[in-house]
Amino acid sequence: MHPWGKWGRNFVEYGVAAAQAALADAGVEWADIQFVSGADTIRNGYPGFVAGATFAQALGWTGARVASSYAACASGATAVAAARAQILAGLCDVALVVGADTTPKGFFAPVGGERRDDPDWLRFHLLGATNPTYFALYARRRMELFGATEDDFAAVKVKNARHGVHNPNARYRAEVTAEEVLASPMVADPLRLLEICATSDGGAALVLSSMDFARRHGQADPVRVAAVSTVTPRFPQAVIEMPNFATDSAASVTGGPAPTFRQSIATAAYEEAGIGPEDVDVAEVYDLSSALELDWYEDIGLCKEGEAEKLLRDGDTAIGGRIPVNPSGGLSCFGEAIPAQAIAQVCELTWQLRGQAGERQVEGARVGVSANQGLFGHGSSVVVTR
């Protein structure tokens, strides 16, 4: 990885640094990489739209095959899925997955121009609905349905900040108190500034290979990718999702409520891996807001609906607890570097399963799961095992 921050340099630099670190870690030469899978960024001009080729050129053309994926926050997982499929199909033995971003300050804004057929442009123009306002709708809903409190939301931030202190790749590495969180300005009621993830620069990369290749290169017991879930929602999607103006209508559909999109993301990963949530030792989830982390506890099956607050209050999701969540510090400590984020989740899980996470190590972790969700309906969940 290249550390997250607000470095203000070209995103390609971060991607190349992360790629070189991943290659060194794997003991693989760049010239040996047969497939390059780039996760795209839409805020850095044309090179960002063709990130796979951009990184390949920066590392030096070798003739390797290439793909570039954009899936908003899920771009990294989509890039992992593309590389993994090549390996599983026997089309290549070893692949490099890279994502990196340079972000503007403040709220994410839509891409420029006047585009009245683009819901992402229209939600800003007609509603002034920034990303945090959608996160806040879910947070308020949790308070109403499950009795979540502002103290709970602050406690998630306090926990993640405590984890991130020990992560050299995190942007924010200082503990915060609940009082400091609750004294930070309200951005979108009930969410406060310290509970909403920042926008960051950063880069992450992975080397993926077949088991044969790994063993031939001295990796006797490598971390395995047991599943990659890139599911879409099911109709009717009954939860309002960014950047939409409305949910699907369920009026013409009979039968009970289907699983929500967020529930279906990890479910598909568990099914593919042949495991259940009870097998998970450590999780990295997309805490775009502190409140959203609580939703994820339920959506990835760590507890039943309505029990996330209890899980948090009991300390189960802190390092040392029963099922630590976001030992990396999460988006809370990283801020979001969109195409790198889902890859960074897998980096963290890999270090955890290898026992290389230092002071943030989850003892004895053998199974990890990541979860996140890309704008417009891109699911993202990766299960890794050892």
Binding site: G106, F107, A109, P110, E114, R116, W121, L122, R123, F124, H125, L126, L127, G128, A129, T130, T133, A136, L137, Y138, A139, R140, R141, E144, P185, M186, V187, A188, D189, P190, L191, F235, P236, A238, V239, I240, N244, F245, A246, T247, D248, S249, A250, A251, S252, V253
Partner: protein
Amino acid sequence: MPGKTQVAAQPGWYTLDPEPALLGSRCGRCGTVAFPKEQAFCRNPACDGTDFAEVELSRRGRIWSYTDARYQPPTPYVAADPYVPFALAAVELAAEKMVVMGQVASGIDAGDIHIGDEVELVLEPLYEDEEHVYLIWKWRPLVAGILKDVSEQLVRAVD
């Protein structure tokens, strides 16, 4: 504002009647309603309908959730100067079994409303230029709206 023409900020998405309504589509084959209007293909995966009728959505619903925007959103939002924060609501329409976003009517804060409150669709200016006032749909809470009207009348009576 006098002399300026009132137009929709997003033409075709809602009527400009005194009792305005959002304009959705209804699939001629399976009856699925969509907002904004579906033009080409029905989004119900079990249906291959391609003919859609324009329908007015329910003018009243109940708040599914709500929030506010304390900081000025970036362009293309056209903010007043100085910026005036506003509340946002996701509103559940019972007949359509769907949730529709909208700003909450001006003057009503997030602290004035609750999940489950009944709201009604109204039109308000979103922004204006030299010739036009651009109208947008908003959700006006029935109870909070009446309380606001009464309090304003009281203020005028005292003045």
